[in-house]
């Protein structure tokens, strides 16, 4: 996570593990185990494997395969907006209880 010892050759993103907090706050469950199908290239990956650009007014999540945006989160003073138009399907492990 952000416990960083950055190298100059590194790209300015973290991975989807960093979405656990911002999405958990909204949905009340851990979504890093969820899988998302990218609307751009139709590949399916765990949310944890997506690329997250989080040093901006919002959080932008891109598919590591085609780099299309799959998910955006923006917080205003009173609402949180989750824009999923870049995702075709979101699937989760079924609850066991």
């Amino acid at each position: 996570m952000s416990t960083t010892n950055a190298g100059a050759d590194d790209m300015p993103w973290v991975d989807g593990n960093a979405l656990a907090g911002p999405l958990g706050e909204v949905f009340g469950t851990d979504l890093t185990m969820a899988e998302i199908t990218c609307a751009g290239c139709r590949t399916t990956r765990p949310l944890a494997a997506m690329r997250v650009f989080d040093r901006a007014p919002g959080i932008v999540t891109r598919c590591p395969g085609c780099e299309d945006v799959v998910l955006r989160i923006v917080r205003t003073t009173s609402r949180v907006f989750v824009d999923l138009r870049g995702s075709l399907v979101l699937s989760m492990p079924a609850p066991t209880t």
Binding site: M1, S2, T3, T4, N5, A6, G7, A8, D9, D10, M11, P12, W13, V14, D15, G16, N17, A18, A20, G21, G24, E25, V26, G28, T29, D30, T32, M33, P46, L47, A48, A49, R55
Partner: protein
């Protein structure tokens, strides 16, 4: 009842700094007490939030480096030049200070105690932090490969030596990328395929790998593991970017 409680949403909780420990010239462990904290799964992280007197807030994610414990957790923070949060955590915060914590977070980059598969943990720089939690809590065979710039940059070295001496299931291998300790048998090097092949669990063993570090490091190591024949489904990764903070 508060609506947030009904929905079971994550909320920010107050954490009190109980103690601090310098781990290197630029990294420090903060011991945090949190009322009602119910432990974590090794590999998980927390979000920490700081609020300035004028109300400005900033938050960052930090891996938990301690073994699971009730009421308490530890994060190990490497300071980032010009960072917004890390210089405060490494240089300023002192016992008694309060900040806010949200978590534990993440269900993907975790090693559950009941997973019997041998594990290969590969950490670059301060990416060793969540792996340290896995080593401290290890109940099954665990190999740690720790890539660090130099001996003085390496975190947790004394404890790792003690743990591997005491527990035959734990083995630690160092890779020094810029300077090596006196008497080290080879010059500084990068972790490469040959070395990984020597330390990795054999291909016919059902093992799992966890890789954490800067983005470029993680990409390289994950690719090397796949080249060695490891199933991508059993390689868990966690990357942090350069802007940290």
């Amino acid at each position: 009842m508060a609506r947030t409680a009904v929905l079971g949403r994550l909320t920010w909780q107050v954490a009190t700094v109980a103690a601090t420990r310098m781990e290197s010239a630029t990294a420090r462990t903060l011991v945090l007490d949190v009322d009602g904290w119910d432990g974590h799964v090794p590999g998980q992280h927390v979000d920490l939030r700081l609020t300035a007197p004028d109300g400005y807030t900033a938050h960052r994610s930090y891996s938990i480096s301690s073994a699971p414990e009730h009421g308490r957790l530890e994060v190990t923070v490497q300071t980032v030049d010009d960072g917004e949060v890390s210089p405060y955590l490494v240089e300023v915060a002192e016992p008694g200070d309060q900040l806010e914590v949200r978590g534990p977070l993440g269900g993907w980059f975790v090693r559950r105690p009941d997973d019997p598969r041998p594990a290969l943990l590969i950490g670059g720089g301060s990416g060793v932090a969540p792996l340290m939690s896995m080593v401290r809590a290890a109940t099954h065979p665990t190999r740690l490969v720790y890539s660090t710039r130099s001996p003085s940059d390496a975190l947790f070295t004394a404890e790792l030596a003690a743990l591997s001496a005491r527990d035959g299931r734990i083995a630690v291998t160092y890779v020094y990328t810029r300077s090596v300790p006196p008497g080290w048998p080879e010059p500084p090097r990068r972790l490469d395929g040959d070395m990984l092949a020597r330390v990795a669990w054999p291909r016919d063993v059902d093992s799992v790998a966890y890789v954490c570090g800067p983005t470029g490091f993680v990409e390289t190591v994950a690719d090397l593991l796949v080249d060695l024949g490891h199933d991508p489904a059993n390689i868990r990764t966690e990357r942090f970017g350069p802007t940290g903070g």
